[in-house]
Amino acid sequence: MTATQVWGADEAVTHLYAAHYRSLVRLAALLLHDTGTAEEVVQDAFVAMHGGWRRLADPDRALAYLRASVVNRSRSALRHRAVEERHPPRIAPDAASAEHGALLALEHAEVMAALRALPTRQREVLVLRYYADLSEADIADAIGISRGAVKSHASRGLTALRTTLERTS
């Protein structure tokens, strides 16, 4: 990817947008359970990256930066929402499409509800690992915690998820 080293900030935005915008919005949507806010969060992250491009100037670091920025901003948005509402996360307004069958949709809704009930960092680690398929090191970077902490949050999160699902099924 040597050609990319000559990207200016504007080009970087265009290229990284084309390659990663959709997946970053989906990542934020899973963290936030709200597509509109997810897009805002990702756009904020791109604007911040543009401002810091001179020091970033590397597409790989830029993606890591965008991811960390999206995770951080999503957490912040959730926190504000929680403060405003003082209630646990909302139930999905957009129930899963019925085309794969109501049972499957129900299963997914159940799992997503259990995921949303987890503490913030466990949820973030599980989304980054099992949706974004990131390595432990990349997850550690994105959340700003140690690799040991990633491991521990992942295993605690998975166990908590299983316990909740066993209770409800």
Partner: protein, 340 residues
Amino acid sequence: MTHHEDDITAARLRAAMTAEADMVHPTDDGLSNIQARTEAGDRPWWRHPGVLAVAAAAVLGLAVGGLAFALGGDDDGNDVVASDPTTSQATPSESSPTPSETPSASESPVPVEGDVYVYYVMDDGQSPRLYRELRPNPGMDPVTAALSTLLAEPAVDPDYSSPWQGTELLEYSVDGDTATVDLGRFVSVGAQAEQVAVQQVVYTVTANDKSVKKVQLLVGGEAPQSGHSDWSEPVARAPMVDVQGLIWLLGPTEGEIVSSPVEITGYGTAFEATVSWEVRRAGSDEVVAEGFTNGGSMGEFGEFADTVELEPGDYEIRAFESSAEDGRPLHVDTKTFTVE
């Protein structure tokens, strides 16, 4: 727990997340939204929409009055914040917001090697104030590293923010005791928030280079034009009691994994020096432990420390001053952490 059961849970989770993500279809105008905003950043300040709004507000007589800041002078007394709080010293307590006469702290303000101090802003419910994070230095000179973090990266604590997010650092230089920070843009916020934003830069620079006493802000090589205040002269630290978070929770840090007994540490000032703390289970209102300890008082900042025994789990801790009037928590700082 067996690996097999975890694998099954993971597979269910993967399927559910993929299905939910597939339903998310970003709109087509994302790129143009981003480009409109990044181009706005390159615009001269007088064409910036925020400035127009401020100018319009001023014309209409809507401008809000800012805090009275003592910005001039060589307030060495404020250096205490830049130093390690463990070296905090007895300051003759004065309730007036003028800089105190404390001698400079003798310890170097430069934090442990490889890390830098970065100040962020949080509104504590009464006014925006500065909060400090220890952040890694990717290998630049400490002030440049700290400023780069401040300008481009969100705080680790999700309650903190920076009005400078997305601003470019054009140049940093030092001449004698005055540093010059040349930025790609100026903040466009209210008068009080602008004072705090400028102090955010001043505190960050002076915390990472002890020899710097004043900071000249520039935007593209020229004095910032704000519509609120005159920034054509170098700015020294405002008194801590005016701009610094009154209660800083320093340990555990945000997202930290600790073992029990957990050490609670912080830095601040409160009525009769009493700093209260509460620990809740993450995501619930259930208070599992609480207590209080002594910090500084009467505008004098001091460290506080306490310990708490906790079972393994995820928690949120909040440190605050209990209102002398009605016991309401004031100046709250919170951190989430995990006990292994």
